[in-house]
């Protein structure tokens, strides 16, 4: 079916079946490959994008459910102050190893910091528990979120 999606501030027309997960529309039809496939069951968070500013798992979100709602992918996260702060912190702390899960980690971290600008370790744990990293970058993810929060606090 023909669908209109609002992705990264632009309206795009795509042809897809209603039950197709958003992830495959982004990756296969639109060439937005920043969101990754990890499990297909909403278990690992590699595919996290924002819909209406909220983190959602694109691998289990039917594309028909997000028609006309604003979708942000990692490719456009630098358009946002919090997004830039998180990207900068990720680089400064040297979070990525293989980097494959990091788009999803960053999208979850940005959503957390928008809602909770100064998260505690416990709040970070709660917000990031859905994002698996096999390389084991968790300690640096914690550190980078704190660093981004501090940067956002100090540079209003």
């Amino acid at each position: 079916m023909p669908l209109t999606l609002r992705i990264n501030g632009r309206f795009v027309a795509v042809e897809a079946h209603a039950d197709t997960p958003l992830l495959w529309v982004l990756r296969d039809e639109l060439g937005l490959t920043g969101a990754k496939f990890g499990c297909g069951m909403g278990l690992c968070g590699a595919c996290v994008v924002h819909v209406d500013g909220q983190p959602v798992r694109a691998c289990v979100t039917p594309v028909s459910a997000v028609q006309s709602r604003p979708i942000t992918t990692v490719e456009n996260i630098s358009a946002d102050r919090v997004g830039r702060a998180v990207q900068d912190a990720w680089l400064a702390v040297g979070v990525p190893q293989c980097g494959y899960c990091q788009a999803g980690q960053i999208m979850s971290a940005v959503a957390l910091l928008r809602q909770t600008p100064q998260p505690s370790d416990d709040q970070i744990d709660d917000a990031m528990t859905g994002n698996i990293c096999r390389c084991g970058t968790y300690p640096r993810i914690r550190a980078a979120i704190h660093r981004a929060a501090q940067h956002l606090r100090e540079t209003p």
């Binding site: 296969d28 990754k36 680089l91 990525p96 096999r134 993810i141």
Partner: protein, 767 residues
């Protein structure tokens, strides 16, 4: 007697050679193994070690690896695949340092699989920096010398009158300088200096090597979603393929009905992939592929297939029952691989006698990027894009599968979204090539789902380890018996291979340098019923867990502090020739250049325990556990602090790891690898278990094959890397942090609760 150490191969050398030669010329496998053994036996060639023993060796021609452009940008080609270890940054910074390039102007190009051109590219065994630090230094330095020669010629002065620094060559005496960009064209015509004439920097002059602040080459691309992994390849007109493979290794397709699959909108074709005779090697497993216009249609199409399989003999495999087979195996005499003194008699004497059996299940790698690869064939040339650790091996595989010439196959290496050994074998890239051929050359991307990945891995081998010891009057062992029963990875390449080979028991079992007069080590022959592969640190995991747990048990039995006991077992600081420990393999490295140094082993133990506050008083339910292992020429000691609550739930608030890998090229990445090893070690200790029933893997996704999540990660991981001079040969980094973690956790749980963990995984909580 296997050919492995005769050939002077690195980790998995025997089987890797089998990949290279067995695929290109089926039937040549046995011959080539015999040949490599025979050559060494006959003494025709002196033994080769390190990179010289690896296929392709090292190539040091700067014209292959360095390009300097008129705009003064520098392109450095990295031939080793990037899987998260940071090698694209680390090898490039070595070249850039000796070249005296500005890091901000450096770009990295990834080499395709071509070992004749680039030297060895098979990225495993924690070898990249160990083997290529010096060659890549010489590459950078040779390029710098060519630029200097070009400048000297330009000015008509002796080369001693010019000096390169920060991408400019200047004349002594303050004359105007020339940029590398201005000199590049002339420099290419200069002769390449011979390796022994290349002048290297003094380590005090390094700008990037050993420094903390080098920008990661791929960092900005990763955080912006621009980085390209195997699953990200997109070609015009590309079809997406998902494959139904036999659930049981060796299973055959009997019949399939594709009508319903073909009715799924977007599905284009259904294609059978041929299976191959066992052993599995790196061949595609065979099965039925659904090709579609997008991944989702291919997935839905596969669900709609009706397939009848013939499972074959492996259908009887049950990993629960196999545990009993392994138990019996370690309770009976087996092939002796080291025999110091008379352990069997010494075990029978008076005094405290301990025995223990440790069990570690199969593991799946579960890299976050599942296997995926894209292939197309244009005018008889097959081009592949794939996240593979061994691109030349994949090239050889595809050359054989398609019946093409090597020169007609190009394997481009994408970023690897994790690998940990899984992507050493390119069965999935073979699938893509075979499917593209079936589709008349149309580009085809093969996508593995997570279920495919978990069920069709090359697994870390299950292991049963039995240890026996008798303690003398001083509490230290007078006799030590260790039997290790684990299927060999060789079985993936040689039908019927049974029991660990010398490179496998060479990983932390045979080379114990303990102060014990009677040591007997035995290897029972046990078969493999599934594809066994290499998993980060490989057999060191089981050996390290068993040995370091058992030493803790001995210490407690002797009423001694586990740290003091471990240090006493290691004895005084000394350099031990591994051959005196019956270890002929030594990770493929020279026993003279890389002796086992008990002083370095002691030092990491002392450092980790000091930093962790060993001996401090802890609240009830908390304990500290220590383990220390030597693997891949590096020394690692971990102190884990564990807390077990009244419900048996285990948390790890803190880990201290001390590490000695010799000199560090990229210190931040060394730390990152150790942090990651800590998380992976806790993961396998807590959750790691692949089981088989009816020959089928029972796990499928992250719900039943759990990985550690962020809340479970220790709030504190302290990495302590020992400083080392650049005179010391480099050790490995990617793998050696892993082996001590699980036993340190088990020992910590014992300290906290008095409960001894001998079987992994632990689960969420103690039962």
């Amino acid at each position: 007697m296997s050919a492995r150490h005769d050939a002077g191969q690195g980790s998995s050398g025997l089987t890797r050679r089998a990949v290279l030669q067995g695929v290109a010329a089926v039937g040549g496998l046995v011959l080539c193994l015999h040949e490599s053994g025979r050559i060494a036996h006959a003494g025709v060639a002196p033994p080769k070690y390190g990179v010289d023993a690896e296929p392709g060796g090292a190539v040091e021609n700067p014209l292959i690896f360095v390009a300097i452009h008129p705009d003064d940008s520098v392109t450095i080609t990295v031939a080793r695949p990037e899987m998260g270890q940071g090698i694209r940054t680390s090898l490039a910074l070595v070249v850039a340092d000796e070249l005296d390039a500005e890091w901000e102007r450096v770009r990295v190009v990834q080499a395709p699989g071509d070992q004749a051109r680039y030297g060895n590219q098979d990225t495993d065994g924690s070898r990249s920096m160990r083997h290529f630090f010096q060659p890549m230094r010489r590459v950078g330095a040779a390029a710098r010398m060519m630029l200097e020669s070009a400048a000297a010629a330009h000015w008509g002065v002796p080369v001693s009158e010019v000096q390169a620094e920060r991408q400019r060559v200047s004349r002594r005496g303050g004359e105007p300088s020339l940029t590398y960009g201005e000199l590049a064209e002339a420099a290419i015509r200069e002769s390449v200096p011979a390796p022994d004439r290349v002048k290297l920097k003094h380590p005090g002059q390094f700008r990037y090597i050993g420094k903390l602040s080098t920008r990661a080459i791929d960092g900005a691309d990763i955080v912006s979603g621009r980085a390209r992994y195997g699953i990200d390849t997109r070609l015009d007109g590309m079809l997406y393929a998902v494959v139904a493979r036999p659930a049981v290794l060796g299973g055959k397709l009997v019949h399939y009905d594709a009508r319903a699959a073909l009715a799924v909108p977007g599905v284009v074709r259904v294609v059978e992939i041929a299976s191959h005779p066992q052993p599995p090697r790196s061949y595609p497993l065979g099965g039925v592929a659904v090709l579609a216009h997008n991944t989702w249609a291919a997935i839905k199409g596969r669900e709609a297939l009706t397939i009848q399989w013939h499972d074959g003999p492996n259908a009887k495999f049950d990993s629960q029952q196999f545990q009993a087979v392994l138990e019996q195996a370690v309770r009976h005499p087996a092939t002796v691989v080291r025999d110091d003194g008379d352990a069997l008699t010494a075990l029978r004497g008076a005094g405290t006698r301990l025995e223990a059996e440790y069990y570690l299940p199969f593991l799946a790698h579960a890299s976050m990027e599942p296997p995926a690869a894209t292939a197309r064939i244009v005018d008889g040339h097959c081009e592949v894009w794939a996240p593979v650790q061994d691109p030349q091996g994949v090239r050889d595989l595809i050359t054989g599968l398609l019946g093409m010439k090597e020169s007609d196959v190009t394997v481009n290496v994408t970023l690897l979204g994790g690998a940990f050994g899984r992507k050493s074998l390119g069965d999935f890239a073979g699938e893509a090539a075979v499917l593209s051929k079936a589709m008349g050359g149309t580009p085809v991307k093969v996508m593995w789902t997570r279920e495919d990945d978990i069920r069709h891995d090359y697994y870390q081998a299950v292991a049963m380890e039995r240890l026996e010891a008798r303690l003398g009057a001083d509490g230290l062992p007078v006799a030590w018996l260790h039997r290790s029963a684990s299927p060999t990875e060789d079985a993936t390449f040689v039908a019927g291979a049974e029991g660990e080979d010398d490179g496998e028991y060479g990983m932390g079992m045979i080379n114990v340098p303990f102060q014990i007069p009677n040591i007997r080590l035995e290897i029972p022959k046990v078969p493999a019923y599934t594809r066994i592969g290499w998993f980060r640190s490989v057999y060191n995991i089981a050996h390290g867990f068993a040995i370091q747990s058992f030493i803790d048990e001995l210490a407690h039995a002797a009423g001694r502090d586990p740290r003091d006991y471990l240090l006493a077992l290691l004895g005084p600081s000394r350099r031990v020739d591994p051959r005196t420990l019956s270890d002929q393999w030594n990770y493929g490295e020279s026993p003279m250049r890389y002796p086992l140094d008990t002083g370095r082993w002691r030092a990491v133990i002392e450092r980790a325990t000091r930093e962790a506050g060993w001996g401090r008083t802890l609240p009830k339910g908390r304990g500290l556990g220590l383990a220390a292992t030597y693997s891949f020429m590096s020394y690692a000691a971990a102190v884990v602090e564990a807390e077990v609550d009244s419900a048996g739930r285990i948390t790890v608030p803190r880990v201290d790891i001390a590490f000695d890998c010799g000199p560090q090229v990229n210190p931040d990445r060394v730390r990152a690898q150790l942090e990651g090893a800590c998380i992976m070690g806790l993961t396998l200790a807590k959750y790691g278990s692949i089981t088989f029933k009816g020959g089928r893997v029972q796990q499928s996704n992250f719900d039943d094959y759990a990985l550690l999540r962020l809340p479970e990660a220790p709030r504190e991981i302290h990495v302590h890397v020992l400083e080392s001079s650049f005179d010391v040969p480099l050790g490995g980094v990617g793998e050696p942090g892993l082996p001590p973690i699980a036993p340190a956790l088990a020992n910590a749980i014992f300290a906290a609760t008095g409960r001894r963990i001998r079987r992994l995984p632990l689960g969420e909580k103690l039962a």
